[in-house]
């Protein structure tokens, strides 16, 4: 039951409730697991979801990093151990007089009343009991998994757009809150459009500030749930699986609600003024949604973001408004007037944001497979080069690049009956590549593509003036694979492998192959 009055009352009382008097200590266990073992298909965004929540809780949620645990791909025993360890630490803090709060977040598979962490299992009942019995003032369980509402089976779980926050007096909040992304018989859904699960996406957006309906710069548990509920139901209404309804179990005594995140002025972010209305999607540098803001005209919203460059997208009836913004420790105003109209076909989330240019500097090693070819003709070489690439230019995930490389070294020519002949060689290469990027996680991208290169080699023979310089040139096609780790918004570390074909035709006609391995640093140009 929606209870606006209760929310308002809580907002007023919060400062005098949980924060009053004693020091506060918060703990968080955040887990994401894309694997659910036999009979399940890997989830695409579970681990990304976990990282998002972890980042929000440690940045805005008052959880110190030493009091937070992020588990990705961990098994149930590891989960249990981490939970036990945090509960113990919380108990110590509580014994010392601190107000304590423990948040457990899980994103992954669940089925038949069990969380599935890879091939291991953790029953929802066990988790509920552990939380219930933990010696912590406030325990909050957030589960984003299919049928996760089963954790409240028979315990009074409620399907409602908002938590009823009753005001008590005299004591700080204490008790257990469980929030599940879907009811006991519903699937929790992921979306490629938002690069995450619906529930976590909206929960995160709310925690970043969009759920701050009171406008006091604090997002409470009730506000976050109300926001996530409404947006999840709305966002999944048109899906093939049907609407998804988050549920909650609220057993909190004392003075009402808990503030989950606080939008500190120093944290910086985006500010959406009262003049505009609509749904704004905030994308990071890799074009993944990090937050949404849904606001009515007359409301103002602020969302707190890490420093960096972002893109804001607003969908209109038949077009888009798109704009680049930078967050650098202050509030950046976003208004429709500052955004640029674009056709729907240039939706940045669909990879049609226009080219994203970057420059890769790399250093690598080249080696021909054929031993005879390595004998002086094509000796192993070290190559340094640069590659200018444009991502998402030809379509979502499609990229092309132009590269040049120079390298060389020294070697010896070993010919039967002849003394070894030293040689110095130079190699120049230039190619054009086309590849497809696949995001393996928030930070890791794998790419596979093809490349056609022009190769020029030249060698001379120091100390052998009787031998003329030699050279060779050819076109060499190949395939390449890249693995990139996005270090930050601008820089990525890249490992690249290529396998190429080369047709040699001087001494004899010969098909040769060679491989190149390189590592490099990719710099993404500003402006997108």
């Amino acid at each position: 039951m929606r209870n606006p009055l209760a929310l308002a009352v809580f907002a007023v009382c919060f400062g005098a409730c949980f924060e009053a008097g004693a020091a506060e200590r918060r703990f968080a266990l955040v887990a994401g697991d894309s694997q659910g073992g036999q009979g399940t298909r890997p989830l695409r965004y579970a681990e990304r979801d976990a990282k998002r929540i972890y980042g929000i809780l440690t940045r805005l949620g008052g959880v110190r990093e030493e009091d937070a645990r992020l588990l990705t791909g961990a098994d149930a025993d590891t989960f249990r151990a981490a939970l036990k360890e945090l509960a113990a630490r919380a108990a110590i803090a509580k014994a010392a007089g601190d107000q304590t709060l423990l948040i457990v977040y899980y994103s992954g598979h669940a089925k038949d009343g069990e969380l599935r962490l890879g091939d291991s299992r953790l029953s929802l009942e066990e988790l509920r009991l552990v939380l219930k019995d933990s010696p912590v003032d406030v325990r909050i369980g957030l589960l984003d998994s299919c049928q996760s509402g089963a954790i409240m089976r028979g315990k009074g779980a409620r399907l409602a757009p908002a938590i009823d926050v009753a005001r008590s007096s005299g004591t700080t909040p204490h008790g257990l809150v469980l929030i599940a992304s879907s009811s006991a018989d519903e699937e929790s859904q992921e979306s490629d459009d938002i690069n995450g699960s619906f529930f976590t996406h909206y929960l995160a957006s709310g925690l970043l500030g969009d759920a701050d309906s009171s406008g006091d710069g604090k997002v409470t548990l009730a506000e976050a749930y109300a926001y996530a509920y409404a947006r999840t139901v709305g966002g999944t209404a048109g899906s093939r699986a049907g609407s998804q309804h988050p549920v909650f179990l609220y057993d909190l005594g004392g003075a009402g609600d808990v503030v989950l995140t606080e939008l500190r002025p120093s944290s910086g972010g985006l500010s959406f003024g009262a003049a505009d209305e609509g749904v704004y999607v905030v994308l990071d540098a890799s074009r993944k949604a990090v937050a949404e803001v849904a606001k009515a005209r007359g409301d103002s919203r602020r969302i707190s973001l890490s420093p960096g460059r972002y893109m804001v997208k607003k969908r209109l009836a038949g077009s888009l408004l798109v704009g680049d913004v930078e967050v650098a420790g202050f509030w950046t105003e976003v208004s429709d007037a500052g955004l640029t109209p674009r056709p729907l076909s240039e939706d940045p989330q669909k990879g049609a944001s226009g080219p994203r240019w970057s420059l890769l500097g790399s250093f690598g090693y080249q080696r021909f497979f054929d031993q005879g070819a390595r004998n002086g003709l094509f000796p192993p070489a070290y190559l340094g080069g640069v590659e200018l690439s444009s991502r998402d230019d030809l379509g979502h995930g499609l990229a092309w690049g132009l590269d040049v490389a120079v390298g060389g070294g020294s070697s010896t020519v070993q010919l039967q009956g002849l003394d070894p002949i030293p040689e110095r060689f130079l190699e120049l290469g230039s190619g054009v590549s086309l590849w497809h990027d696949v995001s393996l996680s928030d930070a890791v991208t794998a790419s596979l593509g093809a490349r056609l290169a022009f190769l020029y080699l030249a060698r001379n023979f120091p100390g052998h003036s009787e031998l003329p310089n030699q050279s060779f040139f050819t076109m060499t096609p190949g395939i390449e694979a890249l693995l990139s780790y996005q270090w930050n918004a601008r820089f990525a570390v890249t490992a690249r492998g290529r396998v190429n074909y080369l047709f040699y035709n001087v001494d004899k006609n010969q098909s040769l192959g060679y491989a190149e391995l390189a590592i490099g640093v990719d710099y993404a140009f500003p402006g997108y």
């Binding site: 002849l418 009787e466 031998l467 003329p468 030699q470 050279s471 060779f472 076109m475 001087v506």
Partner: protein, 310 residues
């Protein structure tokens, strides 16, 4: 013939642009041809300054000039083969290379080509190379100018022969002033100790390169001592044919056959030290200037002063 996708791809790439001179086999062929400076006569110069009482060893000093003439002649011949070092072969096969034809820039209307073939032994090692430099004046056919044979893999430590067909170069009008008129043979063996070089101008009655008609022989050992057989005339119609043995420090011994037509012959023995000062003269007929006025046979100095040479 089976047509494979890889062949089609290779063909496509070849059509798109593929080629050059990157060739290990080219190196193998070129290394079999002696370089211009690889066949040289090197006679040691004096290693100290002093002059003894018997005067200087003019015969050995003359060897320096003769060696220079021999080297210049060899350089001229081998320099023609250097054409292949600045150009990519025109044709290649597993056992053959050809260069040219080029227009001879010094002789309009003349074309030059170089052909080369190699033979491998059962183990795949180079056994013998044959090469020829041919020239023609169109519309005539090619005439061999240089015929070479080489045994081994690299010229600097193998053996071979060079036959220079000066009669053909004369016929084509591409000879240089002073060149011999008849064929000349060169043999060399750089594979052992000593390294030997033989330049035979015996078929040329008038010699060539400023040298007398003679079979010039040279050998040099690893420790620097060697021998040099040569001939030279004097201005009085005498022909001196000389067999020298020398140390690395230039001390030596020469046996000089003096022929004065029609019937006179003398055999003179001279020794000298590192300063090229004569230490011993044996002249049965007292022909040399140091013996002038002395009774024959003329013996000056002591034979024990001659260097001990193998």
């Amino acid at each position: 013939m089976r047509f494979r996708v890889i062949d089609a791809l290779a063909l496509l790439l070849f059509a798109a642009g593929c080629g050059g001179t990157l060739s290990n086999d080219d190196i193998a062929f070129i290394e079999a041809v002696p370089r211009k400076d690889s066949l040289h006569v090197n006679v040691p110069a004096r290693s100290a300054q002093a002059l003894g009482g018997l005067g200087q060893a003019d015969v050995f000093i003359a060897a320096q000039d003769i060696a220079t003439s021999v080297n210049n002649g060899l350089d001229g011949i081998l320099g023609m083969l250097d054409l292949i070092r600045g150009a990519s072969p025109a044709t290649r096969s597993a056992f053959e290379r050809s260069w040219g034809p080029w227009a001879d820039k010094d002789h309009p209307g003349v074309e030059i080509q170089v052909l080369m073939a190699r033979e491998l032994d059962a183990a795949g090692n180079p056994y013998r190379f044959r090469y020829s430099l041919n020239a023609r004046r169109a519309p005539g056919g090619y005439l061999p100018i240089i015929d070479g044979t080489f045994y081994g893999a690299q010229a600097r430590n193998g053996s071979g022969t060079l036959n220079i067909e000066f009669d053909n170069s004369n016929a084509l009008g591409i000879n240089k002033p002073g060149d011999p008129l008849k064929p000349m043979d060169i043999q060399y063996d750089l594979s052992g100790n000593p390294r030997t070089l033989d330049l035979n101008l015996g078929r040329n009655a008038n010699g060539g390169f400023g040298l007398s008609s003679f079979d010039y022989g040279y050998a040099i050992y690893a420790d620097g001592h060697g021998l040099f057989d040569y001939a030279f005339p004097d201005g009085k119609g005498n022909l001196f044919t000389v067999q020298t043995r020398f140390t690395a420090a230039a001390a030596g011994k020469a046996v000089i056959d003096l022929v004065r037509p029609p019937f006179f012959e003398d055999q003179i023995t001279e020794c000298w030290d590192n300063t090229l000062s004569l230490t011993f003269i044996s002249d049965p007929f007292s022909v040399v200037s140091q013996c002038s006025g002395l009774a024959a046979p003329c013996l000056l100095g002591s034979a024990t002063a001659c260097p001990n040479l193998p």
